[in-house]
Every structure is written in C-alpha cells, then in structure tokens.
C-alpha cells in the first residue's frame, strides 16, 4: 500500500513528537536506573520467577518483531524509525528481566540459557500482514503488556520489592508510550479509510492473542499464575473498550463488522462447497 506525502509528513511529525519525549524524558539504562544494590532474593518466590521468565521470553522475540516492523514500514520514515526505536526499547526490557532473574537467583545462568534456547528455537510470525494491521495489533498488544507490567508494579510496591518495582515501572512506561504511538497511527488510518480500517480492526481483535501465546513453553500453565496475563474482564475494561474509543469507534460498530465478515465467510464456504462438485465434473 502506498502512502502519500501528506501522510508521510504527518507520520514523521508524530514520530518526532514521540522521539523527543523518549529522548528527553523516558530514557533509562539498566546500570544506573535500577537499584540493584537493594535486591532482596527473599522477596521472590517461584511464581515471581515464572512471571518474570515469561515476560522475558516474550521480549526475547525482539529480532522477529523488529524484522517484521522494518519489512512493513521501510518506505515510511516515521514508522520505520519508530520500529528502530521500538526495537531498542524492547531489547532493554529483555535485558532487565534477564538480569533480574539471574541476579536474584530465581534462575541460574544455565537455567536461563536453556530457557533462552527454547524460546529462540521458535520464530514469531506476525498475525498482521499490512502496516495498518501491524499498528492495530500493536495498539492492543502494547496496552495489554502495559497493564500486565503495571499490575506487577503495584504488587512489587505492596511487597516492598523496590528493584522489581523499578524494572516493571520503566518497562511499563515504555509500553504505554508505544501504545500511544500506535493509537495515533490507527487514528490516521481511520481518517483515510474508515471502512478498511474497521475491517482490519475486526480481523485483528477477533483473532487477538498475546505474542507469547503460541511460542512460550507451557504458556497455558503459566497464565494460570496470577499476573502473567490479564483476565477477560481486565482486557475488556482496560484494553478493548478504551482502545476502540481511542480509534473513534464503538463496540457495536465493531460487532457489526465482525458479523458481516462472518456472514461473507459463510457465504464463501457455501459457494465453494457447491462449486466443488462442479469443478470435479469439469475435471472429469
């Protein structure tokens, strides 16, 4: 899909706004901004280990995520440069979680390396096949990740775990900023092509799952542990409904489109089902 110059310019400006805040207010590093000296292993248990390991696992697919992001966006400065910045920020998340796991003794170096091998033996494939779908998926995935980290931030504060609180605060803040950027891109898409964007939105939401769902070992078992994922109510209240509002649409509009897509799919299936014997006859 080609993007005109006006849109490219808007995306460039949007990226510059995002990048300015990132550079001036949001930059952090794992050496100076996390109080490692306050690490207290007694504050952790195996459930914490599984949670952090799972977060780390999801972040470890950065090479696949960025490859997809670059392939989709290389011709558009604003979005391609965002993909580069995004990859940089997400790569720090994996680093921080890895450091936390090993420094706290929740996992030994060998255990971590075994896990990393398992993770990287699989390749993440994006559910989005266009830039617009990528932005829509990104908007939902980033808000969900933010909410998961925010829950952990509150839990760590309650438990007096300053180090973990800082890790998930910094990573969560980045995720929230990424979500904001994707929401703006989707808003542009809505202005340019509301029907097409709604069709993509319906497709993405209907099939939405977090990136680790099909990749992380024992994912289903892991999400049974509180805080690894979100409940349906949390996802609905804090991810789906606010995201729809930010796109300027409603749940009833979304459902209308999903129903229309389902009806078209059914029609196609029936047509193909009827056409199949005729094709066989023709082949004979």
């Amino acid at each position: 899909m080609s993007v005109d110059r006006i849109r490219k310019e808007r995306m460039y400006r949007t990226y510059m706004e995002f990048f300015e805040i990132a550079e001036k207010k949001r930059r952090w590093n794992i050496w100076d901004d996390i109080p490692w000296e306050k690490l207290n292993p007694a504050l952790n248990d195996e459930a914490d280990a599984v949670r952090i390991e799972t977060f780390c696992g999801v972040e470890l697919y950065v090479p696949d995520y960025t490859a997809h992001g670059f392939n989709m966006s290389r011709s558009i400065f604003g979005q391609a440069w965002f993909a580069a910045n995004w990859g940089y920020e997400e790569s720090k998340h994996a680093l921080a979680f890895r450091e936390y796991l090993v420094r706290s003794g929740l996992r030994t170096q060998d255990q971590y390396m075994d896990y990393e091998d398992q993770i990287l033996s699989k390749v993440w494939i994006s559910p989005a096949s266009t830039m617009r779908q990528t932005s829509i998926y990104g908007a939902f995935q980033e808000i969900a990740t933010y909410l998961i980290y925010h829950q952990q931030y509150q839990k760590a504060l309650r438990e007096g775990n300053e180090v973990l609180a800082r890790v998930v605060q910094l990573t969560g803040r980045d995720e929230a900023a990424h979500c904001g950027f994707y929401r703006k891109l989707v808003a542009f898409e809505m202005e340019d092509d509301p029907q097409g964007t709604m069709e993509d939105l319906a497709q993405i939401v209907k099939n939405f799952q977090m990136p680790g769902a099909a990749l992380i070992p024992d994912y289903e078992k892991r999400v049974q542990i509180e805080g690894v994922g979100l409940t349906r109510q949390q996802f609905m209240a804090h991810a789906i409904l606010p995201t729809l509002r930010s796109f300027g649409t409603t749940r009833s509009d979304l459902i209308k489109i999903i129903r229309a897509q389902e009806a078209r799919k059914k029609e196609r299936r029936e047509r193909d089902g009827e056409a199949a014997p005729a094709a066989l006859v023709a082949a004979e």
Binding site: R232, M236, A237, I240, L241, R251, S252, I258, R259
Partner: protein, 94 residues
C-alpha cells in the same frame, strides 16, 4: 420479563455468539461462568449486542466489562428493564 425468559434470552445470545458451543450453552445456569463456557471478549460483546438489539438497550461499557457469570448478565438486563419500567410508569403518570 420473567427470570426464565431472561435466562432463555441470555442462552439464545450466547449460542448466537458461539454456535459451536451450543450443546454446552444449552445447560447454562445463573452460576455458570462465561470464561468456563469458553466465551471470549468478542463473544461477550457479540452476545451483549444481540441482547441490546432485542431489548433496545445499551449496557454501560464499564458494567459490561465486569460480566463474568450468567447472573451478571441477568443483572444488567434486569437493571435495564427496571429503569425502562420506571420510565413507562413516569410517562403514564404525566
């Protein structure tokens, strides 16, 4: 609307949203959990949209998001029916 009618409408809506789970949904009770029935977020939105169309209602987003049990759905419907009933009564008294 009687309690049986409310439950029947919820069942109808859930089957509409998740026809592949029709057999299971046939046995729902007030205490059934939508998650355990395999109703995901979109299924819930679809089912509520179905009920809203039938009742000419609009459930508040924040309340809809909190629905987990069939009885929560029932409570939303009752709330709508009651407020509508009150409006009808008010209209009659004017």
């Amino acid at each position: 609307m009687s309690e049986e009618e409310i439950l029947a409408l919820i069942r109808e809506a859930l089957v509409y949203a998740a026809p592949d789970k029709a057999a299971q949904l046939d046995r729902i009770e007030w205490s059934s959990s939508l998650s355990n029935l395999g109703i995901d977020s979109i299924g819930l939105l679809d089912a509520s949209s179905y009920i809203e169309d039938k009742l000419a209602a609009h459930f508040p987003d924040d309340k809809l998001a909190r629905v987990e049990l069939v009885s929560d759905f029932g409570a939303l419907m009752r709330q709508h029916l009651q407020s509508n009933g009150h409006q009808d009564e008010r209209r009659q008294s004017l």
